[in-house]
Amino acid sequence: MNLGRAKLILIIAFAALNIFLGYYLFWPDFGRLTSVAVSAEELRLTEQMLAENNYKLESPINRAIQTVDFLTVSQSLSVQRAVLLRFLREGASISQEEEANYYYIEGETAVIHASGLISILYNPSVPLGENLFNQEPREIRNLVDAFLVAHQLYFDGLSFDYLERDDPSTIVVYYNQIIDDAPVFAGQLKVIIVDDKIQSVDLYWLEPADKIMAREIRVISAAEALSNLVYELGPAAEQKLISKVELGYYSGDYDAEKWEMPPVWRILINGQYYYINAFTGNLEQEIIIPEQLQ
């Protein structure tokens, strides 16, 4: 064997060794490209755990590894300004009170709360259609969409979420706000329909701020979120259906300068939404800030 051939064999051998070593050294980063947050086995075990506790997963879950940051937001002054401009252009009369300002035009009252919540009350209520309670959600949604567009309330980032039928005469249609391609689950726009007429629109619009890419953290998997939720709720007496598992942001409404929203897994069980913090795995309660600090 000549020296040249020996060198070639050694080069191939050492190249293979380097690839092998490199793979193990940088495995976590390689792994992220190739693996999933929830393996088929983990999914099977999760479904088994759910079944043991009388829950049934009916929705597909996102199995990819995801990294996100807190979403920093503030109250949207531009949307507040847009709503007020319309009222002022139509010659609104104004009354100021401690907790809110009132703007009146014919048939509408805009209430601007200190927390940033805007309520538009219609008096008389605006007819939307007939016999809405028995119509398909998509038809109701189309009617509401058209109403919002006509009343200059269909803002960029608005996305239909779900609708609730509270009693035989009341329908509440919820919209999300999409920020950075992710939904914000905080009831950003709510349309209240009573007896086929729109009674009010509640608007709580946010603006994103200060995104720092370097702070992104890996979120817990959807399977882990489901396990945590079942642990919190305990076994169900009757079988409950898990019909939606999705990732977004969730927060209360604060009278604050700006605040961070954590990513959450929103899980729909028998018509009720639960929010699992996608960083800590904790069940997010209504009161995010302990009462003593509010």
Partner: protein, 451 residues
């Protein structure tokens, strides 16, 4: 030839790279199961916790002199020296072999010094200071004696003698020297307030349940600029959240910032912080008082540290439904005078952990004393009458009996212009109602005006 040289270079590079990667794999990475919490989270050590006897200090140390008493309180150098020396002497006297009573105790001998402890100091097996004494609580320490022999006598809150000991000649010499140093300081004489004296000044029946020493003469106290303590926010966050990068922040319009992970919350203001973890509220508090003192001291140390002049005022156990908690309240002192701020520094905890912590500590040290404005305090009799006027103005009918629970000079933290000031005040607590009066003109300072 060129090709062979290139092969050699590539081979050499590959060999070196494989050696480097092998080294990295072997030494550079720590297996997850061997990584401890210390590797992941930076250790946070602010200050070492203290034993109970270094947490509970006397409310007042008095030295009887002709026509009255000299009174010494927290925040004064001589007070600290007196208490530390007494602790040393106590420890050596009662730990060695002289616990119990002594046969040659000179009944009727003069009292040289007294320490009034509020809250009471636990003694007994869990106490490192007085472990040989029966389980009890120390309320008063008297130093008694003549020219060459001293005795120490310890009392419970019920005025029962807990223990007594005769001091050695060396101990006597140390204490004699220190008492003479304390007496040499020019001080205003104090009187022990009696119900009769208070009733005579007030013009109605007044019960005095507490030990209250009041100055016989007017005192010149300065109105002083004050600043809240400086808090290292990042360090503090690390003490409250295991991984504070998972806590979201909420910036309030008043400049305060709340950090919360959805279960616990920390509100940081320019002057202090408030922490709350309501989920732990339902729990037991089975710790002994000594253990609770240790826990509380550790919490003060860990979450912000011990500033000089901080004194424990109250330790109590509270039961509300299924929730049993310990609560401790702390106050800053400056040269013997307590500081009254908007909220006291207060810790609530149980066996499950820390439930609530409010910390608001002001600092009068190292500030520009040129800005100080002197105030001549009104006498205590006028202050008592002014406080009663406040009570009468608010009450629907004039009370016949009053219970005086606290009466002292101090400082109220108030705003003046854009600055914070420590304003000299008379502080009274009558039938549970707290009243603050400007020490010079006796104008009431409302609790809402405190900062």
């Amino acid at each position: 030839m060129m090709k062979e040289r290139l092969k050699s270079i590539i081979l050499l590079v590959l060999v070196c790279l494989s050696l480097f990667q092998t080294y990295q794999l072997w030494y550079g990475q720590q297996p997850a199961e061997l990584a401890t919490a210390e590797d992941i989270y930076e250790r946070v050590i602010i200050e070492q916790p203290r034993p109970p006897e270094q947490i509970i200090f006397p409310e007042t140390i008095v030295i009887p002199v002709e026509n009255g008493y000299y009174a010494y309180r927290e925040g004064e150098q001589i007070y600290t020296r007196l208490w530390e020396t007494l602790l040393e002497q106590l420890h050596s006297s009662f730990v060695s072999n002289q616990a119990g009573t002594v046969s040659d105790f000179p009944e009727g001998a003069p009292r040289l010094l007294s320490c009034y402890l509020r809250p009471l100091l636990p003694v007994g097996s869990e106490s490192s200071l007085l472990p040989l004494l029966p389980e009890s609580e120390l309320a008063r320490l008297d130093l008694i004696g003549g020219s060459e022999t001293y005795w120490v006598r310890l009392f419970t809150a019920e005025e029962e003698v807990l223990a007594e000991a005769k001091l050695t000649s060396t101990q006597v010499a140390v204490l004699q020297n220190l008492i003479s140093v304390a007496k040499a300081e020019e001080r205003v004489l104090h009187n022990l307030l009696t119900g009769d004296a208070a009733a005579s000044a007030a013009g109605l029946n007044v019960t005095v349940n507490e030990v209250i020493f009041l100055p016989q003469a007017q005192i010149d106290l300065a109105r002083l600029p004050v600043k809240p303590e400086t808090i290292n926010r990042e360090q503090l966050l690390k003490t409250f959240f295991v991984d504070y990068s998972l806590a979201r922040s909420i910036e309030e319009k008043d400049g305060a910032v709340i950090y919360t992970d959805g279960e616990r919350g920390l509100r940081l203001t320019t002057g202090g912080f408030e922490f709350s973890y309501p989920r732990l509220e339902e729990g037991e508090a089975n710790q002994t008082v000594a253990e609770a003192l240790n826990s509380s001291g550790a919490l003060i140390s860990f979450h912000g540290g011990w500033p000089s002049g901080l004194r424990l005022e109250i330790i109590e156990q509270a039961r509300l439904g299924r929730s049993v908690t310990y609560s401790t309240q702390w106050r800053m002192y400056y040269l013997g005078y307590p500081l009254y701020a908007a909220k006291p520094t207060r810790i609530v905890f149980n066996d499950r952990g820390l439930i609530h912590f409010n910390r608001l500590i002001y600092n009068l040290q190292n500030l520009n004393q040129d800005l100080a404005e002197n105030r001549m305090t009104a006498g205590w009799q006028e202050a008592l009458r002014a406080a009663l006027e406040v009570i009468f103005a608010e009450a629907s009918e004039q009370p016949e009996d009053l219970k005086l629970e606290a009466f002292n000079l101090g400082y109220a933290i108030v705003t003046g212009g854009n600055e914070l000031w420590a304003e000299p005040v008379w502080h009274l607590q009558i039938d549970g109602q707290r009243i603050l009066l400007r020490a010079d003109n006796l104008v009431q300072i409302q609790v809402e005006d405190l900062r």
